[in-house]
Symmetry: C2
DNA sequence: ACTTGACACCTAGGGTTTCTATGCCTAGCA
DNA sequence: TGCTAGGCATAGAAACCCTAGGTGTCAAGT
């Protein structure tokens, strides 16, 4: 898949994954790969900045998981993040409808 | 619809519209608006550069329609454009599948 | 005659997004 | 010890779309 087709949709994908369970960045990448059966192998340089962006926007909150050796920054949805995910899902359905209508 | 969601898909939409009938830029904008029932009101500053890009890539060819007063640059698909449209349609279906799988 | 709006083309510049490439660090295993 | 996987981060480039402006024709209304 060309890289550009993802633009503008990555945030929704990340929100959807984190909505099901709080995860750290690396695990988010793995989960995206798993759900897409390998189609989405996003580089870290794409995902980490996106997470920072989403947190800065108040849609995610994060905390370092203290404990077992490896440091991990675990993200979870905020209230605003949940609402935003709903908005993005609606937007996605609308987008699909429009493109199908034009391309048909 | 947010602007970014379109990124990377505009070319496919334009190719699909022109594939059905050769059109000039302004008419392409109108046709996109019509097929999407108003959802896609693309500014000229978006479409004209895209047309130039597609022509430079050899996917469209154009000619000034000589004749009645108003000058119009009419675009049509090249052989390569037809093939590319096929590729893009497949890519679109794959993309929808992947996003649905992740967002579900 | 003049103005307004639709038609029709064009470009420069900016903002956003994603990717490439790189760096740093820990843990486990051969 | 060296290698691989896990884990986070940033800088810079490349691509895309939009904003904001410009040029000009044509038809209709005042």
């Amino acid at each position: 898949m060309r890289a550009e087709v993802l633009k503008g949709h990555l945030d929704a994908l990340i929100l959807a994954v984190v909505a099901d369970a709080p995860l750290h960045g690396y695990a988010i990448i793995e989960e995206l790969k798993r759900r897409s059966v390998g189609s989405l192998s996003l580089p870290e340089g794409t995902v980490y900045p996106a997470l920072h962006r989403l947190e800065a926007a108040g849609l995610l909150s994060s905390a370092w998981s203290r404990g077992e050796g490896r440091r991990r920054r675990v993200y979870e949805l905020t209230r605003r993040g949940e609402r935003e995910l709903g908005v993005r899902r609606g937007e996605w359905r609308e987008f699909v409808k429009v493109v199908e209508a034009v391309m048909a």
